[in-house]
Amino acid sequence: MSDALLKIDHLTRYFDVSKPWLNRVLEREEKQYLTAVADVSFEIKRGETFALVGESGSGKSTIAKMVVGLLGASEGTIAFDGHRMTGTAGAEMRELRRRFQMIFQDPFASLNPRWRVGDIIAEPIHTFGLLKGADVSNRVGELLDTVGLSAKDAEKFPHEFSGGQRQRIAIARALSSKPEFIVCDEPTSALDVSVQAQILNLMKDLQDEMGLTYLFISHDLSVVRHMANRIGVLYLGRLVEVADGKRLFTDPQHPYTRMLLDAVPDLALSGRRRKPVEGEIPNPINPPPGCAFHPRCPLAMPRCKVDAPLAVATATGYAACFALDQKTA
Amino acid sequence: ETLRWARVADALTLDPHSQNEGPTSTLLHHIYETLVGRATDGSLQPRLATEWMISAEDPTVWVFKLREGVKFHDGSDFTAEDVVFSLDRARAESSGFKALHSAVESVSMVDDYTVHVKMTGPSPLYVQNLTNTFVMDKGWAEANDVVLPQNFAAGEENFAVRNTNGTGPYTLVSRDPEVRTVMAAFADHWDTAPAVTEIIYTPIAEAATRVAALLSGEVDVVQDVPVQDIARLQQTDGIKIATGPENRNIFFSYDMTSDKLISANVDDNPFKKPEVREALSLVIDRDAIQQVVMRGQSQPTAAPLPPFVNGWTAEMSAYGKPDYERAAALVAEAGYPDGFSIDLHCPNDRYLNDEAICQALVGMLGRAKINANLVSQSRSLHFPLIEKWETDFYLLGWGVPTFDSAYIFNFLVHSREDSYGSYNGSRYSNPDLDAKIEQLATLTDLAARDALIAEIWGKVMEDRVFLSVHNQMLAYAMKDSINLDVHPENQPKMTTVTFGN
């Protein structure tokens, strides 16, 4: 058995965004589908942090939701520790469920405003029947301690906390079922930099202590670089490049990766002249044919408009671009 | 002079033989005429007929001598032919007056101004049935295809519903049903010209609005004045009130025949027991109802018939003070020491303060441990209950258009069969009385007949078939300058209006 904790194969997700039936009949329109995630495959090894980056709408959250089972996959499979997630049900699924958790983007929306913090954190414990009675509150206290809050905070309501503290509470909730794997969907994008640093540090510490595995989603390349061992770059639902953390930044292969890097403002005041980014992300309902990136791509060739490039192995991963073919060829 | 006249409801139709209903007849009396009319004292008056008598040769034939020189509004002459046509039309299947003429065998014209009505048997009171049967012009009716009254099955509107051609004192100027009907004096009318030359008739359903319209001077005469407003209106400057008894008695009745009641909480029928019926008569405080509910505007009476009606006597009307202790004792004596409970059905939109009267009775019954549940509802729900024998205890008002007790006996006392007893909700059935009632119809010796009526009443009163409350009073409110007397059938004629004090 490989040490891959999560294995995703040809994962695809469509959304039906058609107009109502009668409109379609009258306006002679076809059903319309939006391909939010197209044929994505990757593996996450135990104990590592795999990051997904991409612009808004590139399908990051959709993948996250499919992984934790909030959404079903249209095609492809997700296997957690060798168990296929689709079709698993009952006690087995419950046990699987316990082993993975999710942290959300918005610390204001991810905690039920009417519940006490203690109850929020204890919800997974109750749901999985892990502990009973006073043990629960002890465990909640411990967890609050772990994330840098105090056990007394269990009595309070979420609105009594700042954004960073709420995100800590959310993390405590995620940890309460002793998971091995946590999906983090932009866990810090709603936070200030100084607080973001606290959360990122906390997450790293927890990973070291508990051997957690993360699927880390962000659109902030610098955060991703800081956190991830491996990185996947998404564009319009397609994984255009996967590489080791450092490597991706020093030697980006796909032109889109390069463009993203260029767009990051330079704090170091190195005075490097950035290539201006072109255009905006196209409508995912009718993505451009061929390579979806070709209208914005500085390296686009006639072929890109027709065929979709296949993944080509690179030093530490792979990338899907015809320009790479030429380079290697 | 123009008179603006308001009352609660509009005539339903202008077809003179379609609906035998108060407001309809009242309005039509101004446009059409009957053979005989009814004066404000209840007596018969010549109208299109100048004389009427039972034929000397044949006691089953009524002879009518007609007025000469009468013209219809369209100018055609009035003759016996029209009377024959009209009486036949009133007897037609779709006529609302059919029942009043059920004893007629045939109608024939003797000469231009004499008509014979042949009855199936002696019918001494037939002429009393004619006071609302209007005469139409035969030619006009045939020309406009209205030989028969409105037939619903036909699915088409009858021309006569909206168009008129009568001999009456007023011609129809315009009509917007339920909004306004305008009539102008008919110049060629045979009688003296009325003081009112134009009538604007407006129905106003809401009592408060009706009174407001008078107070604000928008109408001149208001019929159907709510009793509670009478005293106040009387004190109002420029407004006066005419009051008078109506030919209608309001009474309670009950199922006194069935073995078991529908709504009672006991296994037998309390009303079957004379003690209970006596208790009821001891419980009702007619004076209080008159004083409070009716604001003095009623004639409390123990007799279920108004004084207008042939057969009425002062003794029958007499009633005593309520005696609740005795009543309670009687109820206990009848076998209900804890009393019993029963539904009381009551209309709430038919008679003056009908619902309040019932409510008052409920309170009074309570003192004799009779626990009545008041079910008060619209007339369209109330009356079918009586007709279908689905009520144990109910309120009913009965007007007597023929001014004769036989009318009461036929519908309320006679056992239910054929055309008899349709409103006999008490299920009262006395074969002996039934025979006597049938006898009344053909008895031509009036003295003997009156004796028989007294005898029937004696038994009915003894059996306490009715628990009479009062005779209704009518009140018309009008501007000070107008004089109009109350008509016992609530059919005021604007021809009788005079102006000035």
């Binding site: - | 107070l215 709504s263 209080a288």
Partner: protein
């Protein structure tokens, strides 16, 4: 203690303490509600007990001895000799009962269907919302009239009196559920997509539990506002229906029935029969409405 202190310190309580209108309204409403609830104990007479009434007491003006019986009443008597003051208390009891019950009925129905529609979405949602459309496109009093008519047919006549009030409640309630359903559905759809609900789903909390424990409490704010205003409307609707002749039996008048009766005496000089019940109804409806208004503003964080 601690909890009380916290409540006293909460935003709502603060905004309440600083709104004279809300304070006055709630005091008035409270007085009327207490009066209604305690009617059997504080009313000088029991106007619903027909046997205890003396018809001769009828139309006694307020504070003036009756010309026949010599009895005198604070607010006078009506046409049956009922003490108006007691009848208002008892009548308010009925009006409030009808109002509360109708609101609860429509609330339960509306919230239930709204949650179902919002949570399930898809065709369930479409179907329920179409029904709501149909319902909305039909005026409430007509619906009440229809229901009243239909119910009258199904209920045996002897039971009508007892059942009348329930029919009334259902009629008024049934014409009102759409509001709740719409609001709850909208709110539920918003809440459903919030991350705390997703968090619960990730750990596999049962949907029923999610709906009841997570979503429901968070949609109650707007529901409460509608409910207060709905209470006032239901009380008025009851009065209107009784004007049209469908409603509680006249032997047990509600405020509305009392006003309908009093309206007949508007021109006859017995002003007290309509005046006092109207004032009571006005005060009740007005104070409840004002409370609803205040609550709406107080619960709307954006207006603070």
């Amino acid at each position: 203690m601690n909890r009380l202190a916290r409540m006293w310190d909460s935003d709502i309580a603060w905004s309440f303490r600083h709104s004279p209108v809300a304070i006055v309204a709630s005091v008035v409403a409270l007085i009327i509600i207490m009066g209604a609830v305690l009617a059997p104990w504080i009313a000088p007479f029991n106007p619903f007990d027909s046997a205890s009434l003396n018809l001769m007491d009828g139309f006694t003006p307020p504070g003036v001895p009756n010309q026949f019986t010599g009895n005198s009443y604070l607010m006078g008597t009506d046409n049956q000799g009922r003490d108006i003051f007691s009848t208002i208390l008892y009548g308010a009891r009925i009006s409030l009962f009808v109002g509360f019950a109708a609101v609860v009925f429509s609330m339960v129905l509306g919230i239930g269907l709204g949650l179902l529609a919002g949570w399930r979405g898809g065709w369930v949602d479409s179907l329920l919302m179409r029904i709501a459309d149909v319902q909305l496109s039909f005026p409430s009093i007509l619906i009440a009239l229809l229901i009243f008519g239909v119910a009258r047919g199904f209920i045996p006549p002897t039971m009508r009196e007892e059942v009348a009030i329930w029919v009334l409640i259902v009629s008024i309630g049934l014409s009102d559920w759409v509001q709740y359903a719409r609001v709850v559905r909208g709110a539920a759809m918003v809440e459903k997509s919030k991350e705390y609900v997703q968090a619960a789903r990730v750990i596999g909390v049962h949907p029923t539990r999610i709906v009841l424990r997570h979503i429901l409490p968070n949609v109650m704010g707007p529901v409460l506002v509608i409910a207060t205003i709905g209470l006032a409307l239901a009380i008025i609707a009851e009065a209107t229906l009784s004007f049209l002749g469908v409603g509680v039996p006249p032997t047990q008048p509600s405020l509305g029935t009392l006003i309908r009766i009093g309206q007949q005496y508007l021109f006859s000089g017995e002003w007290w029969i309509i005046l006092f019940p109207s004032i009571a109804l006005l005060l009740l409806a007005l104070s409840v409405n004002l409370l609803g208004d205040w609550l709406r503003d107080a619960l709307n964080p954006r207006l603070r």
